[in-house]
Amino acid sequence: MRTLAFFTRTRGRHRLDWTDWLSYLYLGAGLFTLFAPIVWLLMSSLKTESALGQFPPTFLPYSQKTVTVAGHDKLLPLFTVRQADGSLREMAQVRRIGIMATLVDPAQPTQEVRVNINDRKPVSELTFAWSNYTDLFAKFSFGRYLWNSVFITVVATLLTLLINSMAAFALSKYQFRGQKAVFLLIIATLMIPPTIILVPVFLVINSVGLLNSLWGVILPAIATPTGVFLLRQYMLTIPDELLEAARMDHASEWRIYWKIILPLSAPALAVLAIFSVMWRWNDFLLPLIVLSKSEVFTLQLALNSFQGELNTQWHYLLAMTVITLVPITLVFAFLQKYITTGIASAGVK
């Protein structure tokens, strides 16, 4: 029965008892399970291609040291060789045939020594392969994918904020015929998951000529029932007297919306903005059917097509994955409180 004290108590005693230890153990295990894979990804993304090929893998990005030796064009890998008298010596390997390797001392490049490969051990050093990251921009159109993702996320979020706040304003501060029906209609779309209307959405996007255009990904989802609902509920709390006073002063309705309602709704707008950034940056299925040319790929699509290629170049793929998760991580690090309270109260993601 004592086991269960662990699940129910909300007020502990001052002294840590064993149920507290169990809780921290559980949380620690959670921390490891959730973050070890991400840390492993980070470390792997800094390994050179040859270091990634090593099995079993090391945690830190070790790779074999190489040296230049006079008389050889290429960099030669460095080994520690056990000599006949048992002493150890660092030598560079010139070639290897079967189980015999030919090595030279970098200081005396002319004296070649042949040893059994079991008598030599690679010399490794810690090297961070930053080139995995820089190459992405030099060798691939990675900058383009990054730009596409940023463009879609920023533009779509701005439009989402604009048209959903306008609708929320109409639904909270006006009384017009059909208002209730409109609200119900919008809320009803919460029950229609986008996956179900995939085929006809494709048709509509194709008919309006937005296939393979970034706008084809931006426009279909800028009206979100979640956004309308969230903002409407918030705007209902803004007192109508403010609007009346502004109307007395002959302010136009657009001015009221822009200069009074929007600034006062800032907290709700912030929550919606965060959601929108998350949705757009991580979106996959809609871009997958709308964008098929590589010039318009988003980061997510580029990642997917990269990993599907026959010879997956993991050193680039891992670096790309890290770059893709950085923006979301930053958003989370700075806005954690908004995100968690926003989700807990609205129950949406």
């Binding site: 129910t8 894979p37 017009f176 009206a223 996959f284 968690t340």
Partner: protein, 329 residues
């Protein structure tokens, strides 16, 4: 900042005359239509119209994209999907992949939702205790929720590849390496595991909010009555958490039925069709295969929609029942 101000000011000036003119025309109360208009336009074009077109697609055949150019075939698409010579044998079905995908989705949803909600509840209960750094721990469990499905899949693909860290661990322990994603059973296990890994933080958060809303004096009263912790859990915590628990269960189920992105990148639906789920079937039938069978894909989406509507109705019913139960108490 000055540039942004000017941009916003310009945007404001652009629309002000329009709205002034519209107000003279329509009157104040009907101006609401102008504000809600853009939203309705987008919804109409990209949600309501597609719902109608979906019905057209589902009842027509051929490979043309334009609905009016497609021959009417009535219920044939549904017949193709559902036809089996022997309903006890998936292989005898005309579209055996559809049945396999449906079966996989059902199996996946039940296992994944059961395990995930259980774990989320446990985590929420632990987080609701008096612990140091609750905000930090909450963030720890929530962070993976924000990662994109593609990133999640790639992280795990890297760990699970044949020369990955899991196989290194097996080797170090003296066991022989396993092809985690090429073995049907293991591939299915990892789709369940990875989706729980990525999503449980979201449900933990909702359940934690529910736990924190339970009045503290309930627990004080229980303490005065010297109720055992087990009894407190069963008689106070769980009943009061029930509405949240139902929301979480149904939400998780609705999402699990629609699982696609992570699995698509992690296993591609394989090996064979071991991890092919219903949305992937729709995607492949409509878009990825050589001949795009839009009608068949639309018919399959309608069947999926029916399932989702049933789940949503079940949620409404359960929620109402549990609310009524609470009032009765």
């Amino acid at each position: 900042m000055h540039g942004v101000d000017r941009l916003l000011g310009g945007f404001f000036n652009l629309f002000e005359p329009l709205f002034r003119a519209a107000q003279r025309w329509l009157g104040l109360s009907r101006l609401g239509w102008l504000f809600v208009g853009p939203n309705l336009l987008v919804f109409g074009l990209f949600t309501f119209l597609p719902i109608l077109i979906n019905l057209l697609y589902a009842s027509t055949g051929g490979v043309k994209l334009m609905p009016l150019e497609r021959p009417f075939t009535g219920a044939e698409n549904f017949a193709i999907l559902l036809e089996c010579r022997d309903y006890l044998d998936i292989q005898s079905c005309r579209k055996d992949v559809f049945w396999r995908a449906t079966f996989n989705t059902a199996k996946f949803s039940l296992i994944q939702v059961g395990l995930m909600v259980g774990l989320s509840l446990l985590t929420a209960l632990v987080l609701n205790r008096k612990i140091v750094g609750r905000g930090f721990w909450r963030g720890v469990f929530f962070y993976p929720v924000l990662l994109s499905p593609v990133v999640v899949a790639l992280i795990w693909k890297w760990l699970l590849q044949s020369q990955g860290v899991f196989n290194a661990g097996l080797l170090a322990a003296g066991a022989s390496p396993v092809d985690w994603l090429l073995d049907a059973g293991w591939a299915f296990f990892w789709t369940v595991f990875v989706s729980i890994w990525a999503h449980m933080g979201f449900y933990t958060l909702i359940l934690l909010a529910g736990l924190q809303a339970i009045p503290k004096d309930m627990y004080e009263a229980a303490q005065l009555d010297a109720a055992s912790p087990w009894r407190t859990l069963r008689r106070i915590t769980l009943p009061l958490l029930m509405p949240n628990l139902i929301v979480v269960l149904v939400l998780a189920l609705i999402r699990a039925v629609q699982i696609f992105d992570e699995v698509f990148v992690l296993t591609g639906g394989g090996p064979g069709s071991a991890t092919t789920f219903i949305v992937q079937f729709i995607y492949q039938t409509g878009f990825a295969e050589q001949i795009h069978l839009y009608g068949l894909a639309a018919a399959a989406s309608l069947l999926l929609a029916l399932g989702l509507i049933a789940l949503t109705l079940a949620q409404l019913r359960l929620t109402r029942a549990s609310e009524a139960g609470q009032k009765a108490r």
